[in-house]
Symmetry: C2
Subunit: 229 residues, 2 copies
DNA sequence: GTCTATAACCTGATAGAC
DNA sequence: GTCTATCAGGTTATAGAC
């Protein structure tokens, strides 16, 4: 996020745009502000990117593509370790949530940009991001369905989406913790937060199938996706 | 949301502003758009409200105050029914969530406006809304602490905030259900959604206190706050 | 590739007639 | 209370010199 002299003009523009879009939104940020923060000429945006809309898409692509790759790689890695056996719910949720939480630690812009997207449901940008997610969701849903075969996929999707939303909201509104309740909170210890989150999420999804036994032999709650990244 | 000829100019402006702010944000909405949708003169905004900022606060006040009143009234009603005994976790969560879900059914602008606030953390508006919530949170936290006395309040707040966030995200991104998974979903049956949500949330909060027994005598999962409104 | 200059337009806010 | 007219400034985008 810090503009270095070595970075190219287009990278400096992307850095500045990411920062300002995250904080102020798309419409709330002018090209003038972006180019001033990036310390480039105002005309450079229209030269390197075609328009403001194209710049927005470039910013999102740079954020989302690597994160979704990490998630899919973490899932593939867990499946490889399971050696053909169905994954535990915990393993699937960890592959889904850990990259996002780790990204949040190093770069809080990402979660802000995710939040911004909730208000662009019909735009061209929304469809663009939708395509990115649509490649990921079937993979994770299939893994969850193998972990909990007796739960209808529709319910699995609905409540995993709910749990996912809680993570986004919690990270997005992390200041609420200091604002409304003094003292330490779980976000100060992301590893502990992840463990508790996965524990809570897994028990919630398991509760959808009261009679489900599920194979618990390769249950590794402390296992981290961190090492594969 | 429908402009009627009988409504006053300031009400027409508030309706139009609420609609456009919800869809486009504050910075993304011009006074010209608002006055055109409201079918009033452009100068009327500065006459009835002092400025655009004051209009935004008026819109939020009109949305938030009644909802928080409903939540507090539902909690007070449940406590009255419990006759001095601690409430169940379910009863507290229902008082917290039901007014929001019911508001979402009739007016989806509200949840969009809530979402917009996540990106105004430092502004004067953020502080304004914070004061509204700050009146509510201690009341609900106290009720939860009575229901689960062995759980530290910090953890109760953190995970209730998480569960709350999941509701906001789910309602805000309700289109995801149709987008990513065909067929019926829980949001088509809000009463069932509420029951499942409260069930899931209560078991999640109870899991924070493994040794907790808790009084389950006035446990009424199907009880609705609807009748008191 | 980078700059200046400028076009064409929209913004919030206000003054003053009715 | 409601209107027109207008202010000073900001907006995206582009044309053309270097």
């Amino acid at each position: 996020m810090i503009e270095e002299a070595t970075k190219s003009t287009s990278e400096r523009i992307l850095d500045a745009a990411e920062d300002l879009f995250a904080r102020q939104g798309f419409r709330g940020t002018s090209l003038k502000e972006i180019t001033e923060l990036a310390e480039v000429n105002i005309a450079a945006v229209n030269y390197h990117f075609r328009s403001k809309d194209a710049l927005i898409r470039a910013v999102y692509e740079r954020c989302f593509v690597p994160l979704n790759e990490k998630r899919l790689r973490a899932l593939a890695h867990a499946e490889q370790a399971a050696n053909g056996a169905p994954l535990t719910v915990e393993a699937v949720l960890r592959a889904l949530f850990e990259p996002m939480v780790r990204a949040w630690i190093t770069d809080r812009n990402f979660i802000l940009l995710v939040g911004r997207l909730q208000h662009e449901p019909d735009s061209e940008l929304g469809g663009f991001i939708q395509r990115l997610y649509q490649a990921m969701i079937p993979r994770f849903l299939a893994a969850l369905a193998r972990a909990l075969p007796s739960v209808p996929e529709g319910e699995l999707f609905f409540w995993t989406h709910y749990l996912f939303g809680g993570v986004v909201y919690t990270l997005l509104n992390s200041h609420d913790m200091q604002r409304f309740h003094e003292g330490q909170n779980l976000l100060d210890t992301p590893d502990l937060f992840l463990d508790r989150l996965i524990e809570l999420g897994a028990s919630a999804l398991r509760a959808l199938a009261p009679t489900e036994l599920e194979n618990a032999d390769n249950h590794t709650p402390g296992h981290s996706v961190h090492e594969v990244l």
